[in-house]
């Protein structure tokens, strides 16, 4: 009888092992992050193709250096996943509280969340109870990155199907459904000297020079481009200006505009040649553009330098006037504070 009971239990266990486990789907998948000056967090939701605004309601504070050596392990533990399944969507720093916020997801989007870094530990941000609002993007587009400008958010997107077009959206503030304008973007591709309408901006940063605010962006095809933030309007074709060519294969991951000793510059992390520092004059130059843009494919590229020691940097955000907080992928994912180059 005992043998029979063991056999039955074993049979049930075997049947249980055969039972497929459904892959859960996260209700939302936060990817790109950006704070505005008031501390409102804007989040690109790649599950629902929308932009979500969250008022975190944090007290004023000062940003402090962070170091999380076991970033993937902590995120995996919080999400109930394996460390090698973890992807970091983005990192952002609140200009009001100094809080460092990280978005994370598993590769299949089954689990995702927002986290705040507190003394080296990640704390999940529960959005229930917080004031939130959202704006849906047009049907069939998936958001890639977003920036805050004085005239609202600028969001880049890629088509989920049917058309091969690069689009930019302006989302009016405060964020609400229906307040989204959609434009096509066009850029000059230095590699084959042609204008493209099909290369989406994978990463962007806002840049203010004098009275003008620009959006700087980069595509997988590696030109860095500039466009006026005001130019993104409904049904408009935005002709961007190519200011630099990073060189073949340097797919950008993150762009951050910084200033040191009163000199502006742009940092672009990428996956092949590492992280680049692009000098300020290039960002606003009106002459060396498009065909004449600084081009690493042609050898010498004055004003563009590879930042030593930053070759594994992925997502970045400006922490304070002297440093950025960066996700690094040196074998394992870490979060570190790096002094501006």
């Amino acid at each position: 009888m005992k043998t029979a009971a063991i056999a039955a239990a074993a049979a049930l266990a075997a049947a249980g092992a055969l039972w497929p486990r459904a892959v859960p789907q996260a209700e939302w998948v936060p990817t790109a992050l950006e704070f505005d000056a008031k501390g409102v967090l804007y989040v690109a939701d790649a599950r629902n193709d929308r932009i979500v605004a969250i008022e975190l309601g944090e007290k004023a504070g000062k940003a402090e250096a962070v170091k999380v050596e076991d970033l993937a392990d902590q995120l995996a533990s919080a999400l109930g996943a394996k460390a090698d399944e973890i992807q970091v969507g983005d990192v952002a720093v609140s200009p009001v509280s100094g809080a460092v916020v990280v978005s994370a997801l598993t590769q299949n989007g089954s689990k995702a969340g927002l986290f705040r870094v507190v003394k080296g530990k990640l704390q999940a941000i529960e959005t229930k109870g917080l004031k939130t609002s959202s704006a849906s993007l047009p049907k069939g587009v998936q958001p890639l990155d977003l920036v805050v400008t004085p005239k609202g958010l600028v969001v880049s997107s890629v088509s989920r199907d049917k058309t091969f077009l690069a689009r930019l959206h302006r989302v009016d503030l405060p964020v609400k459904d229906g307040a989204v304008a959609t434009a096509e973007s066009e850029l000059y591709h230095t590699s084959h000297e042609a204008w493209e309408t099909q290369a989406p901006l994978l990463a962007m940063a806002a840049y203010t020079k004098g009275a003008s605010t620009y959006v700087l962006g980069s595509t997988a095809c590696t030109p860095v481009v500039r466009l006026g933030a005001d130019e993104v309007a409904d049904k408009k074709k935005v002709k961007t200006t190519t200011i630099c060519e990073l060189g073949m294969g340097n797919a950008p991951v993150s762009l951050v505009v910084c200033a040191k000793e009163k000199k502006d510059f742009l940092i672009v992390s990428s996956e092949v040649d590492g992280t680049f520092k692009i000098d300020g004059p290039i960002l606003s130059d009106a002459d060396k553009i498009n065909e004449k843009a600084v081009n690493r494919n042609k050898g010498e590229a004055p004003g563009v330098a590879v930042v030593k020691g930053w070759d594994k940097v992925r997502k970045m955000a400006l922490l304070d006037a002297k440093s950025v907080v960066a996700v690094k992928a040196e074998g394992k994912l870490t979060l570190e504070t790096l002094e501006l180059p």
Binding site: A4, A15, V23, Q25
Partner: protein, 248 residues
Amino acid sequence: VKPAAAACVALAAALVAGAVRGPGPRVVAVHPGLEAVPSNLLRIYIDFSEPMAGGDAFRHLVLRDAAGAPIRDAFREMELWSRGHTRLMAYIHPGRIKRGLAFGTTEGPVLVEGQCFVLELAPGMKARSGRAIDAAFRRELRPAGPDLAQPEVARWRIAASRDGVVVECDEWLDHAGLEDFVRVGGRAGRVEGRRIRFDGPFAPGEHRLTVDPRLEDLAGNSFIRAFETRPGDDAPPIPAVERVLLVR
């Protein structure tokens, strides 16, 4: 518990597990549904029988050359799913299609005219149900020459009757685009390869065939512009492409 009862429990458990596992997810269609694709084919759609989990597509999707070797960097590896996660859109790497790009110059094109390639989806790709595809899917591709021309609706053949309208395009066009971008009298049709069938009844008289100019062919050439643009190309916006058809 008697041995007979234990055996019954085991059998029942196995049957239930088997029933839940069911036929499992599978590929139900690949678009375009033809072997003779243009060598500058831009996009492939793979339709699945149930919503897929995602995140593992490019670990399973591979293009093999004539020798059976997987082609590195064949796809722009960005998973793009329909909202219901039943259709995956995979781009052949645009950097290796568009002429003159450094990536294509060093790596060469993915598809070459006159050679044979195999699109393969290896088993193991997971569905949201937790079940995985259990058999490999393969489709041969035999590229012809590149398609550099924009589509032209004037070349489409139209058979219109009160029972229905059949539009036959002169070339294969983007499958999802045909589903969403072509209408007769505001109605959507059923896409069957190069044909779109619009069920009747249609009243006698004139009806409008309207095409959203964003519709692309298999190589990404739309009514607005060709995929390969030249310096100075500046396509004017086109609101819609129309043809009037007569039902007698």
